[in-house]
């Protein structure tokens, strides 16, 4: 009997939920806003799907329906990736300055 690969992915999924649970509880409450913006940025790793879709168009027809949606998704995800990480960095920079002042 072979195990369906889905079960392996599902196991990863469940384990990652547990990892997430413990990791997020250890986040200090004062950093909850950066937590939201950074989770935002990393969930945009969905861009990998968008890139696959966008590159799937044939060379005669770069813009067919499925690749157009791929390109649109790339733009959206890229806004999020750059925006998310940079705004997080900007916020964390503010928290950092503190200790030096003291």
């Amino acid at each position: 009997m072979e195990i369906d690969p889905f079960i392996f992915r599902f196991s990863i999924f469940i384990l990652a939920i547990f990892v997430g649970y413990y990791v997020v509880w250890s986040v200090t409450p004062s950093l909850h806003t950066p937590l939201m913006s950074v989770t935002n940025a990393i969930s945009s790793v969905i861009i990998v799907g968008a890139i696959i879709a966008a590159l799937a168009g044939s060379s005669e027809n770069i813009f067919e329906i499925s690749s157009i949606f791929g390109f649109l998704a790339i733009v959206l995800a890229a806004v999020n990736i750059f925006g998310g990480f940079l705004v997080t960095q900007r916020m964390l920079q503010m928290y950092k300055k503190k200790k030096k002042n003291k």
Partner: protein, 465 residues
């Protein structure tokens, strides 16, 4: 071109880097390094995707162009956005993740060969279910976040929109999504796919409109969680470990934040989601008309009290964000510190419009984070403090939550502000806060109300010290 196994290993690496990115947030010192791990994970994931597809045609150039367009917009927003607008920004970003998930699902549906999912009209059953769930949750995230964004931005009124039979309508629509997914799977017909997405957009709107402004911390956290589950759904479709891990992380992160926020208000998650709270709750409105005496003062009185105190606790709330008073506040605290007065800040978990909202604003105003305390850490100190300076907070200081079981906010953890020798309360009027409950604190002997805009009052106090 690299093999599927090698790319799977790299995706795992980027998943782990994302875990480390969140881990870094456990303290401000490690947080910036954590963010760099996150960026590195993202670079690895994107690079590996290019190498795996390995087809460097003209499309690749377009991919880069679109990537740069999006990136430029994102970077521009990130540098320009004022810190007070963070809640809207986060809601806006959630909507983009949701919409991107929908678009990827559409691409996969139209061109399943590109993802090894079968051919159009005969997509593997499991993949079809996974992509439908990803698309549905993504669509709900998108439209829900748009509504949250409009409410936070003030374009749409923050008060709840309710109608009779709302919950039944929502329930029926929710069920119909599952019915459509079922028909989609049995018939592979495109029309079911599109109607399922359309209905998901609709339910996203309907779910968020009944939820009022101050419940937004829960809503934002919940949408954060949804965007994660949408990503995970797509991750299963694409059989991509990085996406599955990330989706699970983000999903549980959002869920935990929602839980913390609900606990901060002592309300069940469902009562928040069902909405309607803080509308025109007319119950308490009439009986409190008996004009209790209120002591009000001006900036000079406040300055006098503060100058003669030896310890002060500042309690900021959403009103501080609205008035952008954080810099003026910091100036005031600096002046007090010069007079050898001990100052600390008390932040309630649900102060503001998103988790950690006050902390970011105070950090922006250069307040050292070790002077800012959470509810549990500081609540005992109020009793030995001379002055509590409440600026823009209301419900989170109301002693009624501890004394009156009839009150809608009974049981909510509150800051014991009334235990201070005197309380300065900066507020525009005596109107009740979000919960529609009159704040008993206004009428206490030791409370002095300062009726003014938070920023202006703070500046005036600085002048008078």
């Amino acid at each position: 071109m690299i093999s599927a196994n090698l790319s799977a290993i790299f995706y795992l690496v980027s998943g782990i880097l994302f875990i480390l990115a969140l881990r870094g947030l456990s303290s401000p010192e490690t947080s910036r390094q954590g963010n760099l791990f996150g960026i590195l994970g993202m670079i690895i994931a994107i690079t590996v995707t290019f190498l795996t597809v390995g087809n460097f045609s003209t499309s690749t150039i377009y991919v880069f162009i679109f990537l740069l367009i999006g990136g430029a917009i994102g970077a521009f927003i990130a540098f320009k956005i004022p810190m007070t607008a963070m809640p809207e920004l986060v809601a806006g970003f959630h909507s983009l993740v949701g919409l991107a998930a929908v678009f990827v699902a559409i691409s996969a549906f139209k061109n399943p060969e590109a993802f090894n999912l079968g051919v159009p009209g005969d997509i593997k059953l499991a993949s079809l279910i996974e992509m439908s769930i990803g698309a549905a949750v993504g669509a709900i995230t998108f439209s829900g976040s748009i509504i949250a964004f409009l409410k936070l931005r003030g374009i749409m009124s923050g008060s709840p929109i309710t109608f009779t039979g709302q919950h039944i309508v929502n329930l029926l629509i929710g069920i119909s999504i599952f019915v459509l997914i079922y028909f989609l799977c049995s018939s592979q017909s495109e029309s079911f796919f599109w109607s399922m997405i359309a209905i998901s957009f609709l339910i996203g709107v309907l779910l968020i409109i009944p939820i009022g402004g101050a419940d937004m911390p829960v809503v934002i956290s919940m949408l954060n969680s949804y965007s994660g589950w949408a990503a995970a759904g797509i991750g299963f479709t694409l059989e991509n470990t990085a996406l599955i891990i990330t989706g699970a992380l983000v999903g549980s992160s959002g869920a935990i934040l929602s839980y913390i926020m609900c606990k901060g208000m002592n309300r069940s998650f469902f009562s928040v989601i069902l909405g309607g709270f803080g509308g025109d709750s007319s119950v308490s409105k009439d009986k409190k008309k008996d004009q209790k005496p209120v002591k009000s003062g001006n900036a000079e009185d406040a300055a006098f009290l503060l100058k003669n105190a030896s310890s002060v606790i500042i309690v900021p709330g959403y009103g501080m964000a609205v008035a952008q008073a954080q810099h003026a506040l910091r100036e005031m605290v600096d002046t007090l510190k010069k007079n050898d007065i001990k100052v600390s800040y008390a932040v309630h978990p649900v102060a503001g419009r998103m988790p950690g909202h006050m902390n970011v604003l105070l950090a922006e105003a250069n307040v050292p984070y070790d002077e800012v305390f959470e509810l549990d850490d500081i609540n005992n100190d109020f009793a030995n403090t001379d002055v509590a300076f409440v600026i823009g907070a209301n419900d989170v200081t109301n002693p009624v939550a501890k004394t009156d079981p009839q009150s809608p906010i009974f049981g909510m953890p509150v800051l014991d502000v009334e235990k201070c020798k005197s309380v300065l309360f900066v507020k525009r009027s005596l109107s009740p806060g979000y919960a529609g409950v009159d704040n008993e604190l206004f009428y206490r002997e030791n409370t002095m109300m300062l009726f003014a805009d938070a920023k202006k009052m703070t500046e005036d106090i600085v002048k008078n010290i």
